[in-house]
Symmetry: none
Subunit: 193 residues, 4 copies
DNA sequence: AAGTAATCGAGACGGTACGTCATGTCTTACC
DNA sequence: GGTAAGACATGACGTACCGTCTCGATTACTT
């Protein structure tokens, strides 16, 4: 005897809405994206959106999540060589952030998080948190291998690794290329030792 | 022979507008701030705002700038002891970012910069740039004193110092206290050596 | 062999719907009355209403009819004295129309009839028609008694009797009291002779 | 030094709105007429309608009034022969009410008046009142000529004249032709003597 | 007594219109 | 010519109902 929680939701509509949101986000950008446009494109009543999502930001967030397939893995590579792994990881991060397809939604997300606490929570729990945790796991392994000093606060360590990249990306302070990734990786490595 | 550039602009109105913008920003936050409300509060016609500023963001930016008095100094302390100076600097930075009076406008600014290129330019030129430059100047002095490795890219170095703090602040990853400032300062120092 | 026309209709639901409609009509008035509100108040699915009635007006009409008990009698008193009978009848009519409990539904009915032909037909057949017919029957009797001229068109006569009252009521042209009823009765009597 | 009350209203928009309302009323009927459609047809913002009229009914009323040119005359013909004048008047009334172009707006008006007190007041003051007053003036003159009994209440008299016609028209009780007009005129005349 | 089909409550759905809000442009009258 | 005031066309907002639909769950007739 199961509890029927949200009372028969139309999967068809849900998918159409998320798809429309993703498309429009790419076409017009987050600030010019409207609920009405999403509804129209998805062939759906506005109420159907308002029924299931509390805000424009929430729809877009879900759209992005479902596009990313909720990832899955999230275990970082561990070859035993922290320097190499870090370099590889940051090269990947930098490449993703430079990707035009990621830029708009990525910035929109960051922006939206600033004013919508509920969304911020979702973001931290479902996207950011797992990633940071994976990094901490890798660092813990490195610490056991003696590649990271015992007294290093892993939370701070993680921020020292990702913070600079994020900072440069968000404020457009410079190019996000492999050379930059290596430079940050090098400095972070020195910092942790 | 005076330079009467904008012909005949009412200083009275300008001040009223900036004051109203600052007040309303504190009261309702940036997203709920409207041009109409600013005009009403300032006792000014809407057109007077549109005549002199291109966007809501620009008005708010000017309002904040004029509140901060355009600073002035911007030479960082140089006691010769980079570790101490860095610790002091980051403690100050962290304190400012934790200040409730800075939070709302600070986040609004970051947000607005993402979509308004003109504003982004202003921000980088008049606020962020000078601060980063000051930091670089201090690091250059430290390099001459042998406290920073010769091959360190100063642009990256600056991001390694400020990036983590900014990251933690923007995404609310943890407390911004003196212990945190010291931890980042310590790691940054190791990274630069 | 029974007729089982509507197959298997829930009497319980039907009564709940009619009661809810009557209550809500009194509370919010016809224009602000909604099918959804009736369904909610009656504890009934919307479909159950749509299954058995074609329109909001039809539900309300049925509600009113069932409240009035479908009358029954509808033979006007005939004392032999047309003047007295007419006065009595109009005093009764006028009193009913002035009754606050009749006003709202009465006006709503008149209003609804203007746009819904099916409803209009129902109204004429089940309510108005029988009343007019009863009046005509009384006049016919009066004609035989020589109190009404032989060449009078009874259809017109009926309208001359009820028309003025209805006119004053609908357009709120003046008070609906006994004096008025008597005045109309007097004039009608002169008109018929 | 004049007081500028409503602060510069666009005559252009006003006319476009009234014209659009009149057209749409004829095309779709009052119940299916929407403010949005009027605004769209008139090439006007919805707000401009809401700024100057309180309800759909008020717009339509104004549209009808301006179409009728606010009449002007409103003195009924007085040939000295009340019977002839009455017959003529009622034939005209009956013809107008039978006119398909009058039917829809006429019924809509009657309907709307039932629920909108402000509109009802307007209607009585600007349309109905003057007409009834004109009729009373004519009857007064007839009374002086001895064609109407001295003790007749003119308010009631007017209702006895127009009431039957209105009744037959609104409830669609029968044809509105000259024969009917004459019949009512004849009865009314008898009633008044 | 079991099978079965119509009816029931609930409420999601695609829509339309609502009345409000803010946008950025414009026009007018004042100084 | 800049200004306060505010009307204007535009367009999105979030809500209310519309009338249709699909779901189990009764429920009352068959067989």
């Amino acid at each position: 005897m199961t509890v029927k929680q949200p009372a028969r939701r139309s999967e068809r509509s849900k998918q159409a809405i998320l798809a429309a949101a993703a498309e429009l986000l790419a076409e017009v950008g987050f600030p010019k994206l409207t609920i009405e446009a999403i509804a129209a494109r998805a062939g759906v009543g506005k109420q159907t959106i308002y029924r299931w999502w509390p805000s424009k930001g929430a729809v877009v967030f879900d759209a992005l999540l479902s596009r990313m397939g909720e990832d899955g893995d999230l275990t970082l590579p561990d070859t035993g060589d922290l320097a190499a792994d870090l370099r590889l990881l940051l090269r990947g991060t930098v490449a993703e952030m430079g990707d035009p397809g990621f830029q708009a939604p990525g910035r929109a997300m960051t922006t939206e998080i600033q004013t919508d606490p509920a969304l911020a929570r979702e973001y931290r729990e479902r996207l950011l948190g797992p990633n940071l945790e994976a990094m901490k796991t890798r660092l813990r392994s490195a610490r056991e291998a003696g590649q990271v000093a015992a007294d290093v606060d892993l939370d701070v360590a993680v921020e020292v690794i990702f913070g600079p990249v994020y900072y440069r990306w968000l404020l457009r302070l410079g190019p996000l290329d492999d050379a930059y990734a290596d430079a940050v990786a090098g400095m972070a490595l020195s910092a942790l030792r």
